[in-house]
């Protein structure tokens, strides 16, 4: 029984981490799939969002949930401006130029945040309702992790419905599979991309705020977790909501379990796994049949 409880609480912790990974990475997957744009600044948007949320709570006196909404809107708006003014110039540029541009953008974000708020970690005060433990029948567990899992499930179901059942979702799927064909059918790819880019950055902001409790939030956030977001996207496949979801759960749980049982070398295992998965399925593990 002890073993069972242990496994359950391990899984819960890992799944909660995976949900945050999913919320941050899903936008990256869709925008990379749509435009083939290597956006290394995505972690930067997650960090900006986290800062917006913390500031809104600290100085705006907002509650946690309204602050999340503010963070979403603010980050989406900022990314919209960036997309129209800067990203749009580089859609047809080489991969190297995109990599350089987005690395430069990350540096600018990190430096500006450091100048404005200092290099130290920004503590995020959870509302009392979300603190403490909750009784799940088989085991006691941290309320916040359970809430994260619920939020993650709601989001994946919502995004899946939006992707599979709405007109815009169908347009995105068409554009990911074959951009030229979709364009010649009259789908306005540029506008589609602008909207998904802003939405994806807003999601990253939510992830930054929701995950700040256990990932921390400091200027280096933008680079520290970037490799994880990229691994999730690469393993999950570009432009695939469900693929990213499974990949995020897989990486989240593995990382959580390995860091607990094999504190030295757990990270190495994630890298080995990623290399093997990518060599086996270069298009991503959960990429459906391209039709």
């Amino acid at each position: 029984m002890i073993f069972g409880v242990d496994v359950a609480s391990m899984l819960l912790g890992g799944v909660a981490a995976g949900m945050v990974l999913f919320i941050v990475s899903v936008g990256l997957s869709v925008t990379m799939g749509l435009m083939g744009f290597v956006n290394l600044a995505h972690g930067g948007f997650a960090m900006l969002g986290g800062y917006a949320i913390v500031q809104a709570m600290k100085h705006g006196g907002l509650g946690f949930v309204p602050a999340l909404a503010v963070g979403f809107v603010a980050t989406a708006a900022v990314s919209l401006v960036f997309e129209r003014l800067l990203y749009a110039r580089l859609y047809r540029a080489t991969e190297l130029d995109q990599v350089l541009f987005t690395i430069g953008l990350v540096f600018i974000m990190i430096a500006s945040v450091t100048l404005l708020f200092g290099p130290e970690n920004q503590p995020l005060a959870l509302p009392p309702l979300l603190q403490g433990q909750i009784d799940l029948g088989i085991t006691q567990y941290r309320t916040y992790s359970v809430v994260l899992i619920v939020i993650g499930i709601v989001m994946v179901v919502g995004l899946w419905l939006a992707f599979e059942r709405t007109r815009m979702g169908a347009q995105i799927r068409a554009a990911v599979d074959n951009r030229r064909m979709a364009e010649s059918l009259g789908i306005n790819i540029d506008r589609l991309f602008t909207v998904t880019f802003a939405f994806g950055s807003g999601m990253a902001a939510l992830g930054g705020g929701l995950g700040a409790e256990f990932l921390g939030l400091d200027p280096q956030y933008a680079l520290k977790y970037l490799v994880y977001f990229l691994i999730v996207v690469a393993v999950g496949g570009l432009g695939r909501v469900t693929g990213v979801f499974y990949a995020a759960l897989l990486i989240g749980v593995l990382d959580f379990v390995l860091k607990k049982y094999v504190p030295q070398g757990g990270t190495a295992f994630i890298y080995v796994l990623t290399i093997l998965l990518l060599l086996w399925r270069p298009q991503g593990l959960f990429r459906g049949k391209a039709t």
Binding site: M32, G36, V38, L86, R89, L90, A93, E95, L96, D97, Q98, V99, L100, F101, I103, G104, L105, V106, F107, I108, M109, I110, A111, S112, T114, L115, L223, V227, L230, I231, V233, A234, L238, Q264, G265, T267, A268, Y271, V272, T274, I275, L278, L279, P282, Q283
Partner: protein
Amino acid sequence: MTSSSPSLADHPAALALAGRHRLRVWEPIPWVLAIALYFAFPKHLGFGTELLVTILFAISLDLVLGYAGIVTLGHAAFFGTGAYTVGMLAKHGIWNEPITGLILAAVVAAAVGLGSGLVLLRTQGLTLLMLTLCTMALLEEAANLGHDYTGGFDGLDNVPIAPLFGVFEFDPLYPTTQYLYVLAVLCLCFAFVRTLVYSPFGQSLTGIRENMLRMHAVGAPVRARLVTCYSLSAAIAGIAGGIWAQANAYVNLGTLGLDRAATVLIILVLGGYGRLYGAFIGAVAYMVLSHFLAKIYPTAWQLGLGLLLVLIALFARNGILGMGEALWRRLRATRAAS
């Protein structure tokens, strides 16, 4: 332009193609400057050595990135491999002769490059980018975990290196030997790379960069060329790492880190990639700026670097050297017109 000559061999384009491997008048300048630096700033030779090693590392990256068009974020993997090869062999008392040590570093790094290149270079785009990044991170983790051999997080310090030719000591306080030694190695490696990129092999690399599909179509062995180039570049990066370890007498995890890989990429792009001397210009510009700015205003330095990268990506894709070339061409055009 008078292009109405009867024979194609006299065509300006044909002449330019036939003569592009020749030495230009200005090509000795960097070497003269390097020797002048030795006499002019004897107190800054430590910095000078670091600069020369960075140039060597950037040249190795130029071979894969600028000529073969392989976008990699993990080139420090080979720098670190070379550095750890030299450091571990010397620290554990197995081998500490500097020149043969460098050859060993090159061989080990080339082997790692060959092994990983055979596997990684099947992929492209984001997958390739991630695989190079993960390979480097994996090596870094391995160096961290094997602390009995690698010193783990602290690295290896006071690595004993035998005197060069049995005569010239590597003195950390007066790095005159290091400077001249690194300069000689850089010169040799540069001569090799310069010959390579103007050879038919180098031309086929450029072809692969410009249009891989067409190179397949004309029957070029694309994969084999890419893998060969990747391991040659790895060998040179290994030499750069090995010589860095010898000159500083220590090795640490930073030699394998993302920071180093990103810095060398920035240096190369700043100078201009795919054009031999970009590595020189970029390294000098970056290292001098960072030497004076980064220590005083680290945050402002990062902000400026970010702005610079964004500007380069948006407006000046060929770096400082590319801008200089464009300016030069425009000057010549206006002079020819007037």
